[in-house]
């Protein structure tokens, strides 16, 4: 299973890189989201994957049992998902706004400062 996940991570990274190299701002954001997903999976995998043992303490115990999924990567990823949502929503609105003002979402047409326009 790890091998499959490794492949998916590589795919997400590769697709993310391809998308952020496009000229369209929307594609740039899509690329960032893909890469972000790849990074989340990477962290998740590197904490080792465990089936059917979520880091929840049994109602009759005080500590976790012997085999359990690592809670730390999960906490990290949870944070990352939420933060990346903040970033994405801001970026999406910014793209919308930029298009309204500049009239394009082509990065190559946005690289001049006000004075050159």
């Amino acid at each position: 299973m790890e091998l499959l996940l490794v492949f998916i991570i590589g795919l997400l990274y590769g697709a993310g890189v391809y998308m952020i190299l496009r000229r369209s701002l929307v594609k740039l954001i899509i690329g960032l989201i893909l890469m972000g997903n790849g990074a989340n999976l990477l962290i998740f995998l590197l904490g080792r994957i465990v089936k059917g043992n979520p880091p929840l303490i049994n109602s009759d115990a005080n500590i976790l049992g012997e085999i359990y999924a690592d809670p730390i990567p999960q906490a990290l990823i949870l944070t990352a998902i939420v933060i990346s949502f903040g970033l994405q929503s801001f970026a999406i609105i910014l793209v919308k706004r930029a298009y309204k003002v500049v009239g394009t979402d082509d990065l190559d047409e946005m690289n001049a400062t006000d004075e050159d326009l």
Partner: protein, 769 residues
Amino acid sequence: MLIAVLSGFILALSLVITGKWIKGKGAPLVGLFPLALFGYFVSFFPAIMKGESLTFTYEWIPSLGVNLSFHLDGLSLLFCLLITGIGALVFFYTAPYLKEHIYLDRFFGYLSMFMGSMLGLVLSDNIITLFVFWELTSISSFFLIGFNNESEESRRSAMMALSMTGIGGLFLLASMIVLGTVGGSYEISTLLGSADMIKEHENYLWIIGLLFIGAFTKSAQFPFHFWLPDAMKAPTPVSTYLHSATMVKAGIYLLARFTPMLGETVYWNGTLIIIGSITMVYAAIHAVFRLDLKGILAYSTISALGILVFLIGLGTDQALLAAAVFILVHALYKATLFLITGIIDHETGTRDVSKLSGLNKVMLPVGIAGILAAISNAGIPPSFGFVGKDLIYEATLGFETLIWVLSGVALLTNICLMYAGFQAGIKPFTGQLPKAYEKVHLPSPLMWVPPLLLGSLGMVFGLMPFLIDKSLIQAVVNAMIRGGALDVELKLWHGFNLVLLLSGITLAAGFLLYYFLKPSALLEAKTNRWEKLSPKSLTKGLGGIFSGISKLWTGFFQNGYLRYYLIFALTFLTFILAYKLFKETELYINFNDLTGITFYEVAAMVIIAFAVLFTVLTKSRLAAVASLGVVGYSICLVFLFYSAPDLAMTQFSIDTLTVILFVLVIYNLPKYLKLSNQISRVRDGIMSVIFGALISILTLEVLNEPVLKETSQFYAENAYTLAKGKNVVNVILVDFRGTDTFVEITVLAIAALGVYSLLKLQLKSTEKE
């Protein structure tokens, strides 16, 4: 002592509050401050006279061996007196000179900062502190030279001076560090003890080579001299202060200070003699053809600095004595000449020597000062300059080899310098007074008393050398000689000998030159033709090439296209990763620890793979966003399979929100086009495949490493016992790392605010353009 050194900086700071008062009525009173310092340093005379030296140490960064240790001996005292004495006169002189200038307070601030730095420089015993003060003089002089900051030329010469002396300073730092490492100490007084060891060390040549570059740039030695004439764009009080006694003498001070430690080797003496003589002759000849009074003075200053380097290079007791005396002689007459030039410029509005004459009829005291300075400069008895020049000839005649070459070089220089001095000090005050200048009047006494005082001192010391020979000069010379215990007695009259003959030849030739060679624009123009070959033009050309290359370089990397930045960064990252991975790691897959595969997992993976590919390849934006949602939900499934229910829930809700947000704004956006051409798509495709593959391989390799579970173990054991929570992930987020989560919420709140304001923002039609 620390207070004395730092007081300049304190005064500069205090101007923030007192600036207004100083701009108005207080201006003439600021001079009392350097005067007080002058008095303070005079009080050390008795101790120095007895041959003692004083040390003051204040710890600064003891762990690095950097201390604020100050050492006052004859050499330092001479410089301190020049810095504060001439400083006081310059302060007084500035008050009427820049009267009602809007930045007069700043000027005094820069000036006192500069004075403080110079004092620190000549008093430092620690070579790192010495470097710090050295650079501080460069920085404060930058502000002084560029004081007329509305003038482009002035700004450019300030930049030139700063870059030359600043770069020289870095060489000095390098030299000091090598010296400190070789000698095992950063204190000059300690290093003096290991002088022999340093001189035999293999890095000796590095030490002196780097030191020379530092000293030569500061003291405007050939081929680094060109910043000095340019620096004449500064207001005249600055030129007076920087070029007669302080800034440019810092290099001389450095050489003098290190002579007992590093001197007396063929490299040290040979280099100094050669560079010194080239500089003194080159600049002296240049000085002859200048028309601008300040230009004349600039080149004669360079030439005088050349003489000093040359004398230190000769290195005999006589030569060092001559250098010590000449430092004082030069400071006195050069400051006078600069000051009277300032007065002439201020009152008549011109510095063109060919237009000036007969001014003694309207400003007699200034004329007297000029003539006194010219006499001392020419070395006509009974001036102090005569004593100095005699000593120079004695030094060249007393050297072991090449007596006639050295004396000839000195003779030629002295003749030209005498001519230059006459041009600056006598020519404007003799002959017919042009009609245009008949209404010129004498300026405020604060302006004409300082030059008259300095000019007269040149005579007083000449007539009564006993005033300073035992008290000051002797200590100065002994500080330059290793274990020096020379008995100094200065005399005006040495009897009839070869030295007197050389002096006579100098005077006769100088007078003849003055009589026959009249300054003219034609001659100056002729010499200017050689400018193309001068070090200044060469440096400028070199600078041009450098800035051209840097422009290309910047244009290549900073081209304004986001994707090229990304490509550069990613390519670099890929190469570094790949190199490290394939060079140093053994690649293998550990099949034993893998978890098994079930059908639904494979299904989820296949869905992700197809959805990703579809997102990348589709031509419809809506489809891309939708399949992005599919990717997110499938990842959600992966989290669910592998025991992360919290993640699955978060991913699910966030992904839903993102897709909704996207869909909401999508209809506002332009057409979803393929903007890139075929070639760049292929190129980016190859890059992404390589990068993705690399990440995969990297992940596989990391999976081979054992994983540390100590931290997880801690949370697993304490989640309930300490924080009373059964869901460990939640406990980590809201309890153990609660502050982080709080900050995260803040970040989200700020993002929400940003989104809200971007949505609500109504731009005026003009701002939309």
